[in-house]
Symmetry: C2
Subunit: 253 residues, 2 copies
């Protein structure tokens, strides 16, 4: 019974959503915002870009956005909510591959196999923009900016895949995980130091290749060290620098 348990009281949770789009503009924080800007608002090409987008959802917590083996026809940008991608091996064990926040894109790894190689599951109620991939490819051949944007999205994801590689201690992994989430929220315009973990401890553990008990222990210790405030799934990064130092070697750069 240590007395600093109260250190991490957190009130009202924020509710991230990347939906400020209208019939002409895409959401500012969307991964495709760059493509829009490159095209220029109001040009006919932007119209074309809109024609191949379809708003889908809402999906409820636990719903599948797509399943392993589904034929690949489109990629999805998260508009609201968060998503995990995972695959299930022969023995039925789940393998969490990643978490996706509002503004991020899922489904890129399905282009080559032409079917989705993993499940995508909503962690909260979620909505998406669905981009028909054949239409997008066709548009890309006419618009170098769109093509380049797709190349960059793909290449970027290649870089992030190495976050979970490496033999690193549980402390390093958890610290890097928190920093990564924070900076991704910040990049989309949300608070980078205070947010809700939309996934369970088990999902975090699975993603980081740890046991959920270990994640619990590390988070508790981080809190007692004053690095974070924590209450349930609400977290605040109190000493982001220290966390970043802990996690460096895992983090990009």
């Amino acid at each position: 019974m240590r007395s600093d348990t109260r250190a991490g009281r957190l009130p009202d949770p924020p509710s991230p959503i990347a939906d400020d789009g209208d019939s002409v503009r895409f959401c500012r924080t969307c991964a495709f915002a760059g493509a829009c800007l490159a095209v220029g608002y109001g040009k006919p090409e932007l119209e074309a870009l809109h024609c191949l987008v379809e708003h889908v959802g809402p999906y409820r917590t636990g719903d599948h956005v797509f399943r392993t083996g589904d034929p690949f026809r489109a990629i999805f940008a998260v508009r609201a909510g968060t998503v995990k991608t995972s695959l299930v091996d022969r023995e039925g064990r789940e393998q969490v591959l990643g978490f996706y926040l509002p503004g991020e894109v899922i489904g890129l790894n399905a282009i080559y196999p032409e079917q989705f190689p993993c499940d995508a599951i909503a962690l909260e109620n979620a909505q998406f923009c669905r981009f028909s991939f054949p239409a997008m490819s066709a548009l890309a051949t006419r618009m170098p900016a769109v093509q380049q944007h797709l190349f960059r999205l793909l290449s970027k994801e290649l870089g992030t895949a190495s976050l979970l590689a490496g033999d690193h201690s549980a402390d390093e992994r958890v610290a890097a995980f928190l920093c990564d989430l924070g900076s991704r929220y910040a990049a989309r315009g949300f608070s980078g130091t205070r947010f809700a973990l939309s996934m369970s401890r088990g999902d975090i553990a699975n993603y980081l290749r740890l046991a959920s008990e270990t994640v619990s222990r590390v988070l508790t210790r981080f809190r007692s060290q004053g690095l974070i405030a924590l209450e349930g799934r609400q977290v605040e990064l109190l000493d982001a620098d220290a966390l970043r130092r802990l996690g460096e070697g895992l983090l990009p750069g």
Copy 2:
């Protein structure tokens, strides 16, 4: 002193090279062979494809093909020899990211950051085809087949990144590694059951996030179990099925 030490005697090593190209055709086993075929031999577009290719090398063992931070201008297809990509963290520790065989492509993860995010080092004397990326992008906008090919290459690499993820035992990792190498050699027309490990035990261990001692021990045990024959860096997969069963859960599919 066990008597089965002799079980793994292997004579003459094969010397993989993917260089059957001439002034008109690309090498059959090259990752771009598909793009060539899609275009059709003799068409003017194939000429265009050739214009942006440049044969470079030979590089000697240990030479850098590119270094972390080098400005990104081109991607490279391995024509002969093998390559490892790695990065060095702040503490000076090396992190091996991947091995690339003749016919495979390196440099795709540099598109987004616009500079190479890792080193590429020749593990044997090696030669490459260098594809100017700006020229390739420009060509892709005119030729949907080339664009699609690039998308597929990128997406494919996304899939392979998950090989080293997951918390798996040393046995599973080493088995999966051997199977993966074998199937990649086979896909390029070489023997998929008998090949040389062009990288050191230390590199394998680093890539698999194990200690080199562990790799040694596992390989030795695999040999004593009759799963492989092994002499120095020559290896033969004697019971590929058993290895694949061991490694499944790591391997694609």
